[in-house]
């Protein structure tokens, strides 16, 4: 029987959605779902929500919940990671400390000082997990949803070589949006997308023989569309291709958009005119953090509702998250294509060997098989490399405990280097290292604090 373990299952909404997807797959309805979180208070709502799905659908799946990671991992076939090391407490530091140094991060979970520190906290946990899997689930496939995707997956590959695939929904979200802009039925649109996570590009966008880029370029002339994605449209118009992660995110991976608070508030924020983009607060600094804090309240309310009503009707359709489709394709030996994060071994030749790339992968009974990207445009590779530079040093810092590598990573971050002097960047990193020391075991010896 297939056993699927979720590590960090306390993320209620995400866990419920992924499990609902899995349980909607006919091939997986008798699987064992093992939910693990270190916080039993957060774990219970997830367990109840997933059990409620099983009960309501009347299927045979077995749902267990535990705070003991070893128990959860034992004999797992798939391990899905959704945890957030340090939680919102650490995340708040990722945003607020750099802000005092003039770094205006909108999300701050991918690159920038926030992304670097999120990686430094996360990688030790992932490596511990992999070590436990060596004994308890040696053949299991690791499906990582934890950000920062690229640095985390790169570290796992470098340190353990374990089969790991990094999953995100930015490609699905963006492709759906582009189909809408091009005014074509989503099912009829064909796309080829590659790059690095959160900065991959739609290299081909077609419907039958028709290139859809001209339609997209026409659509972005409309004010209401431009107001939805001002940054990504800028990037397309200047680099030639549409990027996968939303404008709030995309603005902080580059030095052009948010060099200071005035620029953010007066130049960037007014360009966001679409109400649906509330979740990162129209590109404002700390927008996503505030969204997460709000969500915390909402999920408490949802849980109360769940308990009161004895469970809401479970979803009847699968989300576009790749996780359940990958597991299904491997188990049933059917074929699907996903855009997933994998080590760059010969896949994109103008990106560094071994870095984490997001490319189309064919998944079937043979596993996750990445495909190569021929002639990746030079300007896109160059742009990606400004991010890969930071990821590489972050991974080095996480794996070696070299504090200097943390400094180098942040100094080379495109946004930080557009704002801070070297001594400011150094002071900021020192402050972050001190504030987050309890989550950074790898630096204990190297730290002066």
């Amino acid at each position: 029987m297939t056993k699927i373990t979720f590590v960090g299952a306390g993320s209620l909404v995400f866990t419920r959605n992924l499990c609902s997807d899995v349980l909607l797959s006919p091939a997986l309805q008798d699987c064992t779902i093992s939910l693990m979180d270190i916080d039993s208070e957060r774990l219970c709502p997830s367990r109840d929500a997933v059990r409620s799905i099983v009960d309501r659908r009347g299927i045979k799946a077995h749902v267990e919940a535990t705070t003991d990671r070893e128990e959860a991992l034992r004999d797992a076939d798939y391990v899905v990671t959704t945890f957030q090391q340090g939680g919102l407490e650490a995340y708040e530091m990722d945003v607020q400390i750099p802000r005092r140094y003039g770094i205006e991060q909108c999300v701050g979970d991918t690159l920038g000082p926030g992304g670097v520190f999120r990686a430094l906290r996360t990688i030790p946990v992932l490596l511990d997990l992999c070590r436990e899997m060596e004994d308890l689930a040696p053949d299991a496939l690791l499906l990582n949803y934890v950000n920062p995707m690229a640095a985390n997956c790169w570290a796992v590959d470098l340190a353990t070589g374990r089969p790991c695939v990094g999953l995100c929904h930015s490609v699905q979200d963006t492709s759906e949006m582009l189909a809408e802009w091009a005014d074509v039925p989503y099912e009829e649109m064909v796309y080829f997308c590659a790059g690095i996570n959160h900065q991959a590009f739609f290299l081909k966008l077609r419907r039958g023989g028709e290139d859809l880029y001209p339609r997209v370029k026409k659509a972005v002339g409309r004010e209401e569309i431009r107001g939805r994605e001002p940054v990504r449209i800028d990037i397309m118009e200047n680099f030639g291709f549409f990027v996968t992660e939303s404008s709030g995110h995309a603005s902080e991976y580059m030095p052009y958009f948010r060099k200071n608070a005035r620029m953010v508030e007066e130049e960037l924020v007014p360009r966001f005119t679409d109400e649906r983009n509330y979740w990162y607060d129209f590109g404002r600094t700390g927008g996503y953090l505030r969204h997460c804090l709000d969500r915390l309240e909402e999920s408490r309310e949802e849980y109360a509702e769940l308990q009161a009503s004895g469970g809401t009707e479970p979803p009847t359709a699968r989300t576009h998250e790749y996780g359940s489709y990958i597991i299904e394709a491997i188990e049933k030996n059917t074929s699907i294509r996903v855009n997933a994060n994998v080590p760059n071994h010969g896949l994109i030749r103008n990106l560094p060997d071994g870095c984490c790339v997001e490319v189309p992968c064919l998944v079937d009974g043979n596993g996750v098989q990445p495909t190569t990207v021929d002639r990746y445009p030079t300007q896109l590779a160059a742009l990606n490399r400004t991010n890969v530079n930071v990821q590489e040093l972050t991974v080095e810092a996480a794996l070696t405990g070299d504090v200097e590598a943390v400094h180098h990573a942040v100094m080379l971050d495109p946004l930080t280097s557009a704002v801070c002097t070297l001594s400011q960047a150094r002071a900021m990193v020192d402050e972050l290292l001190e504030a987050q020391a309890r989550w950074l075991p790898q630096f204990r010896e190297g730290l002066k604090v």
Binding site: V190, R206, N333, S335, H345, G346, P360, N366, G367, T372
Partner: protein, 438 residues
């Protein structure tokens, strides 16, 4: 509506098999099938067969017959190539001349002296086809089924880089089925990785239900009945550690170990001159097929293992699939030469074909493929540059020829074959009589 051009459609049975596969897909109903052959009677036979197949499948295909290749290619979405340049007569020369020098061959269509000359007489055609595709159906995918697979595919991507080309062969799926039968498991449940060059794809991972089945295959080899079915490939597995695709009769002539003398031929049951018999049988089968068509008889309509229809279906519908195909080595197999033609896993979807990166083959397996890739390189260069010297170089470097013949004998075989094939060969090779390398 999509248009598929079949070039060399007079290979009637193969045309029927591919069309049976294509018409099985509801999404490919109404396809335009543009058949081309230079032989009017074979073309007419192919037309009858295509219409019959479409009718049986209720596919509503539009079948066109074109003696003019350009008309067949015009605005095609896919071009399937299955020509045989020189047909049976040329095949006989490839066998008979080397045989007089004591060089035995089994199939002689993909490597060795026979492979080199089949390559030399087919590449000029491939170059014309590539040129016409650039002009008449830019962007159409060329699915090449004609041997020698590696050389022909290589010549196209080298001379016409804008033509998307893949070489297709059934050696991988057939081998997986054979292995499954040797170890008694359903072939659908096998998982595998493989890489190499066409006909020499090494299966470096072979699993069933998560279990490595190499121990079972090694055990199966000890059963004399099973061993007798595939002696050459079992010996290669015993010595090199991995099972190879294609077949024992093919692989016998790719190495110096099985075909050098009568004692070896006997010990390993190598069917010398096998392809001559198959080629004759093909002629008989063609004649019978034509008679049956004219008499209104039926044919079996089973799905084949060929990848062609799957690729068409995936590109048209966007449904992703994995196939094995021959394609340019853009560092896909790291320890085979850049630019050589490798056979690896290739994913197909609505955006076309994208090969998977394989990495490094175990060194002994790369070393086994590399000499053949070098011979293919020399043959392609000989044809593209009209360089006769490279024909000698290629022949001297063939592993099997070198195990039987002296340098002088190899040069004489080459000269005789060039003379015998005459006009079929690229001009520079025919007229440029230099033998500087002798």
């Amino acid at each position: 509506m999509i248009k598929i051009a079949f070039i060399g459609a007079g290979s009637v049975v193969f045309t029927k098999n591919l069309l049976t596969d294509v018409f099985k897909f509801p999404e490919l109903r109404g396809t335009t099938v543009a058949l081309h052959d230079i032989d009017p009677e074979r073309l007419e036979t192919a037309g009858m067969m295509a219409r019959w197949t479409s009718g049986q499948r209720g596919a509503g295909a539009t079948v066109e017959e074109h003696l003019d290749r350009r008309a067949a290619l015009d605005e095609a979405d896919f071009v399937v190539n299955m020509v045989q340049i020189g047909m049976h007569k040329a095949t006989l020369l490839d066998f008979e001349i080397p045989r007089r020098y004591g060089l035995k061959q089994t199939i002689a269509d993909s490597m060795g002296i026979g492979g080199i000359f089949r390559g030399l007489r087919t590449i000029p055609f491939m170059l014309d086809l590539g040129r016409e595709m650039e002009e008449l159906c830019p962007g159409a995918i060329l699915l090449n089924y004609t041997n020698p697979m590696s050389m022909l595919t290589w010549a196209v991507y080298k001379a016409h880089p804008s033509v998307p080309v893949v070489g297709l062969c059934h050696n991988v799926p057939y081998t997986i089925r054979e292995i499954a039968s040797y170890i008694g498991v359903p072939h659908e449940e096998m998982a595998y990785d493989g890489a190499g060059i066409n006909h020499i794809v090494w299966l470096t991972r072979l699993e069933c239900g998560g279990e490595d089945v190499y121990p079972r295959l090694l055990a199966a080899m000890e059963d004399p009945e099973i061993y007798a079915k595939d002696k050459v490939r079992f010996e290669l597995m015993r010595r090199f550690g991995y099972f190879v695709t294609e077949s024992s009769e093919h692989n016998a002539e790719y190495t110096p170990y099985f075909l050098r003398d009568d004692e070896l031929v006997k010990r390993y049951d190598v069917p010398v001159d096998e392809y001559i018999r198959r080629s004759e049988a093909n002629l008989v089968e063609y004649a019978k097929t034509r008679e049956k068509l004219l008499a209104g008889e039926s044919f079996p309509l089973e799905r084949s293992v060929e990848y062609g229809s799957l690729i068409v279906h995936s590109v048209v519908t966007g449904e992703a699939r994995m196939v094995y195909a021959s394609i340019e080595n853009t560092n896909l197999v790291e320890n085979l030469a850049r630019g050589c033609c490798v056979e690896v896993a290739v994913a197909v979807d609505g955006t076309g074909l994208r090969p998977c990166h394989y990495g490094e083959l175990p060194p002994q397996l790369a070393a086994h493929c590399a000499p053949h890739a070098a011979v293919q390189d020399l043959t392609v260069r000989a044809a593209l540059e009209g360089n006769r010297d490279h024909v000698y170089h290629a022949a001297m470097l063939d592993r099997h020829a070198a195990s039987v013949l002296s340098l002088d004998e190899i040069a004489d075989v080459v000269d005789e074959l060039i003379e015998a094939h005459g006009d079929a060969l690229p001009e520079g090779i025919r007229t440029n009589a230099t033998r500087a390398t002798r």
